[in-house]
Amino acid sequence: MALKIIESCVNCWACEPLCPSGAIHEAKPHFLIDAKKCTECEGDHADPQCASICPIEGAILDGLGVPLNPPGSLTGIPPERLQAAMAEIRAR
């Protein structure tokens, strides 16, 4: 199985140097994972490195097409709390 970078990638370069398999490369319009090289970091790291540093929710999918960083996972604010959090922040 292999991970996949999709179009919401902002080309921030964070993932590229971390990949133990040399599977990630810069491309237009966004970075890509070579599915033949990606090992999902098996044997190298407990967590897939690209998905552990990617700052964009939803930009990296697993082999089944499920985002590894779903909505709310990186901001720390689950979607159902978004309105309340916004009100809190706006009151500052």
């Binding site: 902002v10 370069w13 964070a14 140097p17 407990a46 700052p55 990186l74 706006r90």
Partner: protein, 496 residues
């Protein structure tokens, strides 16, 4: 030895730090926690002396794209917000390209003395690219000082490598020393091959920052600390940060405003976190930075600009242009040395100028004035050409530099002038709190609008030294009875 005038109209501090008049005493106090060798470096520094800043230039190269933490005021599409203006995107260079560009600029702009790496991500999260650039420059262009800015996460492990190069100073962005505050600013960090969320991540980041700061100051490296002021998150807390970092030897604590706009797509921008207003910012800057006014010009660096204050010659040094340049750096270095010596002489002459007596009764309130300059310490820029204004405060104690106000150019000439009106409004907003603006020339229509906004335009001091002109205008205002009236916009909360 170059001895700079660091406080307006006061004599340069002597080695003992003795200084007789004005705000110099408090300045001395702020610096007193610093070891002598660091104090010396700061006083004579092209980046930190307001005076020298008009004569020297620095530049940045974008060689470090990746970042290892997430700040709520950044969305990765633009350069790191800690060190540059929001919304700026720099062209990413390889270390070889960067070295070539720096040497091309240094050969053509001899005033360029400091090279910084500040992004677009975190330089120390890209150690190979950053240190390859530093290694080559230390070897090929030993007359250029190097500086680097970092979020601090990887700093402790990089200290040994950093000190091998021509490193002049390091900037660490420290927004908090309390993990509970940190959890509201940093949603996660990448640490030991894992993503660590929330308070736990913030605690590691804080620990690394403080450790890095201690290691650097122990080795005599100048460390500046930047903090982003986020209302309702770390505003009061920054006073504590200031105490802690100064106790550990940071020579300067620099407070910058959060700039959160929804269109930048950052978490804070989208969620509606507000930015501080100018009064909040200045109150905190006064509390944290005290009267270290000589350094206030060095706030958010002009990461995208090449050249002296107020000018940008970046377009002369694009990749394809530098590719064709033949540079004999040994020859250039001789030329540069001559220029640097001439600047040192000029600065010495200025420092030697006797302090002015201005015998203004102490009850007059201070006034902020904006100045349009393209360098050289004089008023020499057209209002409409100014990309940034320098703000000075005039008071019976003298003239002191307060900071930069950036503006979008309201007039670029020709057919782009359609937007002129709204952009002029932007300029006027940028000058909020100022009661006068001094420039070499100004158009008829902006004149009227500035007046209507309570800012008196003044083109009568073109080519005069800034501080003399600001004092002259202050005296004119007093003579005209303007300061007998109720304090205008800049009355409250001022500690001068």
């Amino acid at each position: 030895m170059l001895e700079l005038k660091v406080i307006n109209d006061n004599p340069a501090p002597s080695k003992k730090g003795g200084c007789s008049a004005g705000s110099c005493g408090s300045n001395d106090e702020q610096m007193s926690h610093l070891p002598e060798h660091i104090r010396e470096k700061v006083y004579n520094h092209p980046c930190y002396s307001e005076q020298a800043h008009h004569y020297f230039a620095r530049m940045h190269v974008a060689v470090a794209p990746a970042c290892n933490i997430q700040c709520h005021y950044c969305n990765r599409k633009y350069d790191c917000a800690n060190e540059s203006r929001p919304g700026v995107v720099s062209e990413l260079l390889t270390p070889d390209q960067a070295v070539k560009k720096v040497m091309a600029v240094a050969a053509n702009i001899p005033q360029m003395t400091v090279l910084g790496i500040a992004g677009p991500g975190d330089p120390l999260a890209n150690p190979e690219r950053t240190f390859d650039t530093f290694r080559q420059l230390t070897e090929k262009a030993p007359d250029i000082k190097l500086c680097v800015s970092t979020n601090g996460l990887s700093l402790p492990e990089c200290v040994d490598e950093l000190v091998k190069h021509n490193i002049d100073h390091v900037t660490i962005t420290i927004n908090c020393v309390d993990p509970d505050v940190g959890a509201k600013i940093y949603p996660w960090i990448f640490w030991n091959n894992k993503r660590i969320h929330g308070r736990k991540g913030a605690a590691i980041l804080i620990e690394q920052q403080q450790k890095g700061l201690e290691m650097l100051t122990a080795r005599g490296v100048l460390v500046k600390v930047n903090s982003v002021l986020i209302p309702g998150v770390n505003d009061e807390h920054l006073k504590e940060v200031s105490k802690v970092v100064k106790a550990k030897g940071a020579f300067l604590h620099n407070v910058m405003p959060l700039i959160a706009e929804a269109e930048h797509g950052t978490f804070y921008g989208v969620m509606g976190q507000r930015s501080p207003n100018k009064a909040e910012l200045q109150a905190l800057q006064d509390a944290c930075e005290g009267d270290m006014n000589m350094m206030r010009h060095c706030r958010q660096c002009r990461a995208d600009a090449v050249g002296l204050l107020g000018e940008d010659r970046g377009s002369e040094f694009t990749l394809d242009k530098i590719e064709t340049m033949e540079i004999d750096y040994a020859e250039a270095m001789k030329k540069r040395a001559v220029v640097h010596a001439a600047i040192a002489e000029e600065l010495n002459a200025q420092a030697a100028r006797p302090a002015q007596k201005n015998d203004i009764p102490a009850h007059y309130r201070p006034v902020l004035m904006a100045v349009a300059t393209s360098g050289g310490g004089v008023i020499n820029q057209h209002f409409g050409h100014a990309k940034e204004f320098l703000v000075y405060e005039a008071s019976p104690a003298g003239v002191r530099f307060i900071g930069h106000r950036k503006t979008d150019l309201y007039c670029s000439g020709g057919d782009t002038c359609g937007d002129a009106d709204t952009a002029l409004q932007t300029s006027i907003r940028a000058l909020e709190g100022c009661e006068a603006v001094l420039c070499s020339k100004i158009g008829y229509s902006p004149w009227g609008e500035l007046e209507a906004a309570g800012i008196q335009p003044n083109g009568e001091h073109a080519m005069e030294p800034i501080e003399d002109a600001v004092m002259a205008v202050y005296k004119e205002m007093i003579a005209a009875g303007k300061l007998d009236e109720a304090p205008a916009l800049y009355g409250a909360g001022n500690a001068a």
